[in-house]
Symmetry: C2
Subunit: 479 residues, 2 copies
C-alpha cells in the first residue's frame, strides 16, 4: 500500500480519548477520556497526531459512521486538537478479540491468573477467537497505514494490539513503530501455556516494532527470555534480534502529572467527601486501598491480612479503620463476579468478627467514585497496594503526591512500582498474608517524621517521568 496519509505521529490503542453516548433525540454526546496518554500527547504538538482506536459502544459506532472513514473532525469534538479515527469493528469480532483473547487470555497469562488444573483450555472455539483478534489487529494496521505519512512514527499500546506492529510493518515498512506494554510480561514457562502458534505469533507481532517498551526492566527481561526460548531469537537486556530485524527494549516507568492530579484532587467534590471521611474516621488511623475489582489486584488477601493484623496485633482494634474502595470491573466475566462476591463475604466476616457498637473495622465501598478515591488518597495514613502482579500500579504513585500527612505504602514486590520505590515502601510478598499483616503493623507504628520523609521521597520518584516525558522518551527512541 503506498503512503497516502499525512500524519507524522500516530497512536493506536483499544480505548481512545473520546467516547460517545447516543441521546434520546439521536444526537451524540461526546466525553473526553482521561489517562496519561491524552494529557501526555497534548505536550507533543497534538495538531499533528492521529489517534486510531476502536469504537467501544453503540454510541461510538454511531459516531464513527457519521463521519467518512470513522475519522472524527479535528475541531468538532474536544480531543485536545487530535484527530481521532474510531474503527467500527463488527461487534462479534470485537467481543472475541477484546473479551475472549485480550482480557480472558493474554491478560491472564501475563498476570498468572489461571487456575491451571482446569483453565485455560484452548479448543476450536479459541481458534476462531484468535482469528478475530488477528482481524481486529489487521483493521488497526490498515487504518494506520492509510493515515500515516512517509516515515511516520506510530505508538502502539498494550496487549490488545500485540500483532499490530508486524502487520503494520508488512504494509508500511517505511514507518517507525513502538509498542508499549502496560502489563507485566509472563515468565517463559507460563507464556508457553498459549498454543504454540499463538505464542509465536504474539512474539513475532511484537518484534515487528522497532522499540518495545515496558514499565519495568523485569518485564522487558521476561519478554526477551520468551523470544529466546520460544522463537530462538538472539537477545540481551537491550534488544532482541530475529530474522534480521532488531527490536530495541526500553524501560519507561510511567509517572504522574502532579500538577493536574493536585488540581483535580482539590476540587469541591473531593473536599466534600474528605469532610465526610474525616468525620467518620475521628482520630482513628486509616488504612486505605483503591482498586478495580480485578483478579490481579489481590483485594481478598488484602482483607485477610487486615483480619490477621487485628488478630495478631489486638492493640489496633478500635484504633484503625480500613477504607477499601473496590469499584466494579469486567462484570461480564463470571470469574470477576465471583471474585467480587468473595471480597464482599470477607469484608462481612471481618465486620462480624471485630465490629462493635462504636467501631466499624472496615468500610468496603464498591461504587466507582473518583472524587472519593482522591479523598482517600489525601487522608490515608497507610496505603495497601498488594497486587499478585501488576505492570506498574499508578495508585501507588498518586498517593505520595497527594498525601496530606504522609502515607506509608505497603507495596507488593510484584508491582512494577516496587522496582522504583525499593525500601522507601514497605515491600511485601502478596501471597504472604501474615507477612502483609506484619507490614501493616509496621506502617501503622511508623513515627510521623519517618512517614513524612518516606512519602516525600516516594513523591519525587513518582514525578520522575510524567506522561509527557514518558511519551517523549518513546518518540525519541524511534529516531
Amino acid at each position: 500500500m503506498a503512503p497516502s496519509g499525512s500524519a507524522p505521529l500516530l497512536v493506536a490503542s483499544n480505548r481512545g480519548p473520546l467516547s460517545f453516548v447516543e441521546r434520546d433525540d439521536g444526537t451524540l454526546e461526546p466525553s473526553r477520556g482521561g489517562g496519561g496518554l491524552v494529557s501526555g500527547l497534548s505536550g507533543l504538538g497534538s495538531d499533528d497526531v492521529v489517534w486510531v482506536c476502536a469504537a467501544l459502544s453503540d454510541g461510538d459506532r454511531a459516531a464513527a459512521r457519521q463521519v467518512e472513514d470513522g475519522r472524527l473532525d479535528r475541531n468538532g469534538h474536544d480531543t485536545g486538537g487530535m484527530a481521532v479515527r474510531m474503527l467500527d469493528i463488527d461487534p462479534a469480532t470485537f467481543h472475541r478479540a477484546y473479551n475472549a483473547v485480550a482480557n480472558s487470555t493474554l491478560w491472564f497469562v501475563h498476570h498468572l491468573l489461571y487456575a491451571m488444573p482446569t483453565s485455560p483450555a484452548f479448543d476450536s472455539g479459541f481458534r476462531r477467537e484468535w482469528s478475530s483478534y488477528a482481524a481486529y489487529n489487521q483493521a488497526f494496521a490498515e487504518a494506520l497505514s492509510a493515515e500515516a505519512a512517509e516515515g511516520a512514527k506510530v505508538l502502539v499500546q498494550d496487549y490488545h494490539l500485540t500483532l499490530l506492529p508486524r502487520l503494520l510493518r508488512d504494509l508500511r515498512p517505511d514507518l517507525r513503530i513502538a509498542h508499549f506494554s502496560h502489563t507485566p510480561w509472563a515468565p517463559v514457562d507460563y507464556f508457553r501455556v498459549l498454543p504454540d502458534s499463538v505464542a509465536r505469533e504474539t512474539l513475532l507481532g511484537m518484534l515487528g516494532a522497532d522499540h518495545a517498551g515496558f514499565h519495568s526492566a523485569r518485564w522487558a527481561r521476561a519478554f526477551a527470555a520468551c523470544c529466546v526460548e520460544v522463537l530462538g531469537a538472539e537477545a540481551d537486556n537491550k534488544q532482541v534480534t530475529y530474522d534480521g530485524h532488531t527490536t530495541r527494549l526500553g524501560v519507561h516507568p510511567l509517572g504522574v502529572d502532579a500538577e493536574a492530579l493536585r488540581e483535580r484532587a482539590y476540587a469541591d467534590d473531593v473536599e466534600t467527601r474528605l469532610t465526610a471521611l474525616r468525620h467518620k474516621l475521628g482520630d482513628r488511623k486509616a488504612i486505605v486501598r483503591v482498586d478495580r475489582t480485578e483478579l490481579s489486584k489481590n483485594i481478598g488477601r488484602g482483607l485477610l491480612a487486615y483480619r490477621e493484623l487485628l488478630r495478631q496485633y489486638p492493640e489496633w482494634r478500635g484504633k484503625v479503620t480500613h477504607l477499601a474502595s473496590a469499584y466494579p470491573s469486567r462484570h461480564d466475566l463470571p470469574e470477576y463476579r465471583e471474585y467480587t462476591a468473595h471480597v464482599q463475604r470477607l469484608a462481612t466476616d471481618i465486620e462480624d468478627e471485630f465490629g462493635t457498637d462504636d467501631w466499624r473495622p472496615i468500610v468496603l465501598d464498591v461504587t466507582d467514585d473518583y472524587a472519593r478515591s482522591l479523598a482517600l488518597y489525601r487522608v490515608g495514613d497507610v496505603l495497601l497496594v498488594n497486587p499478585v502482579r501488576d505492570g506498574m500500579n499508578l495508585v501507588a504513585k498518586e498517593v505520595p503526591v497527594l498525601s496530606e500527612n504522609g502515607c506509608a505504602i505497603v507495596l507488593s514486590t510484584e508491582a512494577g512500582a516496587a522496582d522504583e520505590f525499593g525500601d522507601d515502601a514497605l515491600l511485601v510478598n502478596p501471597f504472604d498474608v501474615a507477612g502483609t499483616a506484619d507490614a501493616l503493623h509496621r506502617a501503622l507504628s511508623m513515627p510521623d517524621d519517618e512517614r513524612r520523609a518516606r512519602t516525600d521521597r516516594l513523591a519525587a520518584t513518582s514525578m520522575r517521568l510524567p506522561p509527557s516525558a514518558w511519551l517523549a522518551e518513546q518518540v525519541a527512541a524511534l529516531d
Copy 2:
C-alpha cells in the same frame, strides 16, 4: 552428635518399602511397597542399607512402637534384606508437614497448580504448618545421624524432605548427601509465591546436599535459577555454589525395569482383564490413559480433547473407545474431590453427546486396579499422557515396553519424559485441547509399521536407565 551408626548407605523418604495393617487380633500384617527405589536397592547390596521413612498409618505406628527405636528387624519382614526404620511422628505434626506443606504447598508450587487470584494465602496458620514441616525433617535428620557410619552416603527423596540435607549436614558434616526431586521444579516467578523465608529455607535445605538430582535438565536449570535469584548463589547448569559449599546438579531420568514389569504384566490377573477388555473393544481402536486423579495430570482437558476429536473428526465415531483409568488420589483435599467430580461430569457429557446403542465412546474407570492398568498398557493403540506438568511420568515409559501391537504416545511437552522421547512421541501443549485432538487423530491414523517402529524406539529409551542404574549413578556421584 558423634557418629554412632554402622550403615554405609541410607535412604530417606516419606513412604517406605513396607506398610502395616493392624489385624483384628492385634497382629500386624506387613505388605511390601513397590516402586523403583525398592527394586533398585536390591541390586546395591541391600544388606548394608538402612531405609528411614515415616510411619504413615496406625498400623505403621504400632509396628514402629513394637521395636526399639522404630527399627524393624532386618529379617522379620520382607524388606528385601534392608533394615527399615519407621519414624513415629506425632499425627498432627505429620498431617501439617505432609498434607499442608508438602502436598498442598510445595507440590502445588512445582506443578503450577494454584488459582492465584485467591490461593495460596500464607497466614499465621501456615507458619505453624511450616514449623511442623521443619520438625518432620529434623526427625529424619536425627534418625539418619544415629544410623549412619562415618562418611556414609545418604539418598534423600523428594519434596517432603527438602530441609533434610542441610539439617543432616549440620549434625554430621562427614556424610555425603544426595537429594533427588521426583517432581518438576518451579520457575523463579512462581517459586517466589512462597513466603520469602520459606523460599530461602527450602533452597538452603537442598543446598545442604552434595548432589541434587532431577529427572530432566529443565528442572535442574529451574532449581539453579531459583538459587541465583532468591539466594544470590553462583550457578551454572552443572552446580550451585553458595556460602562456600558446592552442590553438583545431576540429571538422572528414571527408566523402567523391563523384566520385572513384563513378569507382572503377564500374570493371570492381567490376562483375565485383557480378555474382558478385548471383548469390550471388538475391532475398535483403543485410546488409553492411566493416571491418579491428580490435579496435575490434566484428565479434564484430556476428555475435552477426546470430545473435540469426535466433533472435528467424525470419521472416528463408533470406531474408537477411550479407556480412561483415573484412580482416586488425595481425597482428603477438597480440590481433589471437586476435580474428580469434574472429570466424571465431562465423561458423562461425552457419553450423552455421542453414545449410541452399539457404542460407548468412553469408559471411565475410577477404581484402583493395577492389573487392569497393565492390561490397558498391553492393549492400547494410542496412549494419552497430557499432564500440566510432571517430573517424569513413568506410565509413558512403561507402555512402550508392554505394548503388544505398538502404541502411539500423545505426550505433553511439560512431562520430563518429553525431553528423552522427543519426536518419537507426538508432543502436545497440554493446554491446547484442539491441538491435542489433532494429535489424537494423527496417532489413530498412524500406519502400523510406523507405530511399531516408534514404539520400539520409545521402549529402548525407556529402558536406558532402569532403577538399579539410576540409583547406582547417584551413589557414584557421591564418590
